[in-house]
Amino acid sequence: MEILLNGTRVAVQPGQTIMQAADSAGVHVPRLCNYPQLKPSGACRLCVVQVKGARGLVAACTTPVAEGMEIETDSPTVADARRDVLDLLVSNHPLDCFHCEACGDCALQDYAYQYGIKEGSYDGARRQVEVDDRNPFFRIDYEKCVLCGICVRMCDEVMGYGAIDFAGRGFTTLVSTPYGVSLDDSACVFCGNCVQGCPVGALVPKSQVGAARAWEMKKVRSVCPYCGVGCAIDVHVKGNRIIKIEGAESPANHTMTCVKGRFGWEFVHHEDRLLKPLVRRADAPRGAVGREWFEEATWDEALAAAAAGIARVRDGVGPDAVAGLSSAKASNEENYLFQKLLRAAVGTNNVDHCARL
């Protein structure tokens, strides 16, 4: 099937939406409420395009392509319509990009820039709602919300909890829990997939607040260190600190995470981290808990002591008097080397890990 997209012939698949066809052809249609894992909702009206013969503009995210369809994604009429939509949104949006975490990673900011909206032209009242700071995971700034509904649909369509929905109507519409209770008291499980989906600064991980913005962070691909699903993640780093973690695309998780994967990384920077090798003091009783029973050592000293202790038993009693437990948290490469050390360097099959615990 073929369509004419901005004057160019493009092959498309039957059943594709105009937005999908445009994406495949490398033509970006602006959007706020569309998200790859969610059903299209046609809510934001930013993706309107002109279709020859159609009455008025159509939403690219919900309109299927048809043979020979002639589409203009950025004609003057389309651009005017988008400007109207953006003007309304910006008029009801705090223009505090200077200290917004989403600055540089905000769809509204990007499109306002693209369509030349400096400030809103509507003078009337602006939504004024207090920031909801009640949960330890993320901050909710209702004034920045563009009501795209991605968070609502994420919670319903993907997670199946439906903890939040639109409440109120017209100007007073807000995304809310039933009766506005804290998320703590709702069905929310704090997966934070809504936070990742938010196109603006309405939902921000608390770890990012005042800490970093998009251009300051490097994004490093990783795999979650918790359960065996193996969710792909992007670790966002500034300096030598993790600022936040987001889900990445892999067949294992398709950008989703759970609460532990997204918000459970602070142990990396915890003050309890061991930063130097330790050797037990000669006068310390076994099992005594606490750093005071250990002395700091250099790596050379500690490795020499570790090797000497193992070698003493290996050579004095026999290889099978030595055992090692590897870790299901360590990499394949490390597990391979660990068992190789026990089998080849010590000479025992006394090697196992926590597979049964």
Binding site: G230, A252, R273, L303, I310, A321, A323, A328, E333, Y336
Partner: protein, 528 residues
């Protein structure tokens, strides 16, 4: 897993047994929810009123320790109603006659009398599983952490073969693995009885090949000690030195008091960890390892997908990646390892582990590769046992139901069972040091049925003392409707109320997995 995570969404019937999927494997559970939205049947066999049980078409709530009986009741019904797959059984399996004989008398009514599950529910579940075009089984530690854990897994394999629900998309017997790299650790031979690639240590040919690759004269042929056997072996004086890489056995072992005692008997203990854990407190030398974020490597997930992770941070302080520490230690033990990088180690793995023969860093991309991937041009294997089983014919196992080792009695009248919660993980050494999680769910708790609790005059948050033959803990109670009048549940993440002070060390005779899911306890009201 025999199959892949995404296939769960395409199943017509999903049988979840012994898996608290939404809490322990939340992102896997999204596929279950997707399938249910599309109209799939969801059968849940689990003693606790967990989220998937409440969403189930059929929730079978057995007493902890009676999975095998319930499954046998289902299979008996499938046989007597002729819902089994004769073509699959004839062409793909062996041992059918002995297996059928083992189900003699194992009627749904018998299963009901053992497990407490209604016989009609057992029948309905059997029919939903057997008659669907694609049925998949998801299971976790609720099946395996029993003294009959091996029987549980074999029984699931029997069920899948009996109905031909294996070797096709959307089917299979699928363990949801609990740790990010427990699959990989096992693949790499960090097991007392298998070399890398699951070759038995008494396989002389495999030993010779590895010895040659590793440049040593020979490798030991006798199976070693399983992790679960270490405390006894230490107490017997057979094991004198222990090298622990990131394991917190003083908290995660059953009968943790026994393990702690054993740790004091060691002549020498090296612990390599991020933290001074409860276990590290016993060490002679503590080597500071860095976290996964500070190094690179690969993890293999529950669907056998080998995925790369990259270094995000420089190692904190003087901490080092585990692989570097092992290389250094090995050299000092007189065995230098010529490994310059994780990528070079993977090249050695590819050369020595047949299933990983085609795995190389430059091939892994963003989607990784699923083993078996034997050659550099092999695309990986999303589904196992397609045309034939790994061993040729699938072997039915004749299993006899055995009760758990320690059952409730007059002195210890409750069944005690353990598991994870959504917000915490294992011994808590990671999650309890992650402020948002720790703040959101700071405290230990024990779950109990409201009827049982109120009969004792208990309200939510009141302190109870839970005592087994091995220890006692004092913990706030949570009254959870549907828990069952005979069951007490505790998560094992909390050192101040450690569930594993109570659990039983009895092992499954084959897998040597401890019976963490069933022991007997008594409950008393404790003073604050």
């Amino acid at each position: 897993m025999t199959n892949s995570l995404d296939e769960i969404a395409d199943a017509n019937t999903i049988l979840i047994i012994g898996s608290n999927t939404t809490e322990s494997h939340p992102v896997a559970s999204l596929r279950v929810k997707e399938a249910v939205r599309r109209g799939a049947n969801l059968i849940v066999i689990d003693p606790r009123p967990i989220e998937v049980a409440e969403a189930a078409t059929h929730w079978l709530q057995p007493l902890p320790g009676t999975n095998v009986a319930v499954l046998q009741g289902m299979m008996n019904h499938i046989l007597t109603t002729d819902l089994w797959n004769m073509e699959f059984v004839d062409s793909r399996t062996e041992g059918f006659a002995e297996f059928v004989a083992s189900l003699d008398g194992r009627t749904p009514e018998w299963a009901a009398s053992v497990s407490g599950v209604d016989a009609g529910l057992i029948r309905a579940a059997a029919e939903a599983y057997a008659t669907a075009e694609r049925s998949t089984i998801l299971y976790a530690m609720g099946v395996t952490q029993h003294s009959t854990g091996t029987d549980g897994v074999l029984t699931l394999a029997n069920l899948a073969m009996l109905t031909g629900q294996i070797g096709r998309p959307g089917t299979g017997v699928n363990p949801l693995r609990g740790q990010n790299n427990v699959q990989g650790s096992s693949d790499m031979g960090a097991l007392y009885d298998t070399l890398p690639g699951y070759r038995k240590v008494n396989d002389a040919a495999a030993r010779t090949a590895l010895a040659q690759a590793w440049g040593v004269a020979d490798l030991p042929a006798q199976p070693g000690a399983a992790a679960s056997e270490l405390p006894d072996r230490i107490m017997a004086g057979e094991i004198r030195a222990l090298y622990l890489m990131g394991e917190n056995i003083a908290l995660t072992d059953p009968d943790a008091n026994h393990t702690r005692k054993a740790l004091t008997r060691l002549e020498f203990l090296v612990v390599q960890d991020l933290f001074l854990t409860e276990t590290a407190a016993f060490a002679d030398v503590i080597l500071p390892a860095c976290s996964w974020a500070e190094k690179e490597g690969t993890f293999t997930n529950t669907e056998r997908r080998v995925q790369r992770f990259y270094q995000a941070l420089e190692p904190l302080g003087e901490s080092r990646p585990d692989w570097q520490i092992i290389v250094e230690l090995s050299a000092r033990l007189g065995y230098p390892m010529p490994c310059a990088s994780p990528q070079a180690i993977m090249a050695e793995i590819a050369a020595t582990v047949p299933q990983y023969g085609g795995i190389a860093y430059e091939r892994l991309g963003e989607a990784g590769l699923q083993w078996p991937c034997p050659t550099p041009d092999h695309p990986g294997t999303p589904i196992l046992h397609r045309e034939k089983f790994a061993r040729g014919l699938g072997r039915f196992s004749a299993v006899t139901f055995r009760p758990s080792a320690e059952l409730p009695d007059a002195e210890f009248p409750f069944v005690f069972t353990t598991g994870r919660s959504l917000y915490h993980y294992h011994s808590g050494s990671m999650t309890r040091r992650a402020r948002p999680l720790a703040e959101h769910r700071p405290d230990a708790y024990a779950e109990m049925d409201p009827a049982t609790g109120s009969a004792m005059g208990l309200q939510d948050g009141d302190l109870i003392r839970v005592t087994s033959r091995r220890g006692e803990v004092t913990v706030p109670v949570r009254l959870v409707p549907g828990t069952g009048s005979k069951v007490i549940f505790m998560p094992f993440h909390f050192r101040e109320a450690s569930a594993n002070l109570l659990t039983n060390t009895v092992l499954d005779p084959v897998a040597r997995i401890p019976e963490l899911k069933v022991c007997a306890v008594r409950v008393e009201v404790a003073q604050a």
